[in-house]
């Protein structure tokens, strides 16, 4: 039986045309920039939402801030798509990378946190007028969401330093050439 990680690696490596496209000189930096713009859109809109759940700007009804959620979803979509391109290009660099594992775990937990929100507090929000303190569960949901997305960003940045072929800081020469300047 072939281990799951190897299967996944083989499946992702089959997108050879994507890999060829991504290895053009400009493609990787451009897709990375798109990934960072997506990150900003996602974190900005979800942070505004989470902060409102935590009680910031409470004179505005929570329902009003719900209008920002489509932008968070858009940011997530941009990043799921651009992130997939990285994975299809160098699958082994992510599949065997503990920073990537933790990042994906946090993305899944953040998704579960969203589900918890919609199945519990969401229906009660309509009855909360301006100035109302959200229920404890809503505040907890906002705090968990903010913490998870910040962790996702940190783990994303750590991927470079946990690549299986090594990019450990402190290994001066190789680190500079391979990890700071491509």
């Amino acid at each position: 039986m072939i281990p799951f990680q190897v299967q996944l690696e083989m499946a992702l490596a089959s997108f050879t045309q994507v890999a060829a496209f991504m290895q053009r000189s400009w493609a990787w930096p451009v897709v990375e920039s798109v990934h960072f713009i997506g990150l900003t859109l996602l974190l900005g809109s979800i942070a505004a939402w989470d902060l409102r759940l935590l009680g910031v700007a409470r004179q505005v009804p929570i329902a009003a801030f719900h209008r920002l959620i489509p932008f968070a979803v858009l940011g997530f979509g941009i990043n799921a798509a651009s992130g997939s391109l990285f994975l299809m290009t160098f699958p082994d660099q992510y599949i065997y990378n503990p920073a990537f594992h933790l990042k994906m775990l946090c993305v899944i937990l953040a998704g579960a946190n969203v589900m918890v929100f919609y199945f519990t507090v969401f229906r009660r929000l309509g009855s909360l007028g301006p100035g109302a303190q959200g229920p404890m569960l809503a505040r907890l949901n906002g705090a968990v969401s903010l913490a998870l997305w910040v962790t996702v960003i940190i783990c994303g940045r750590m991927i470079t330093f946990y690549r299986p072929n090594g990019c450990r800081p402190g290994e001066a020469a190789g680190f500079l050439a391979e990890c700071i300047v491509r």
């Binding site: 960072f36 996602l42 974190l43 900005g44 809109s45 505004a48 910031v56 505005v60 209008r67 940190i154």
Partner: protein, 165 residues
Amino acid sequence: MFDPLFTWLESTAFSLWIVESPSLFAFPGILAAHTVGLGLLAGLNGALDLRLLGFARSIPPAAFVRFLPVMWFGLSLNVLTGIALLLAYPTKALTNPVFYLKLALIAAALVILRNLLRHTRAALPVSRTTKILAATSLMIWAAAITAGRLLAYTCTRLTVEVTCS
């Protein structure tokens, strides 16, 4: 011309610690914090821009003033981590035109933000000019982020002694 300055900066204990320490709190941690600060500052600025452009109309624009402390936190974090990264690789940053482009774009974005906040605080109706400024803000932040990302791929001199190939 600035080589003696670069040589000195690159020999300081702080610079050497960031570059050479195997600790995750050195170079990797500073880089990660810089990205979190970016997300908070540019992200919340982007949310304000989108509101001024007419999305999520049920939020009064003045509500975004409440997020200012978080945006200030993001900006402070990025000034501090930015200075740390500059001290780590001073020659690389200061001999790279893209670095100056990035700083200019951030300065422009912050000037626009100040202007937008003045309008927002005064609770003025969203004028055509404000909308144009909000759209410009979104584009400038996107450009600043792209310039920042390109810093990893553009390099004339890595350190005083090492020229990029």
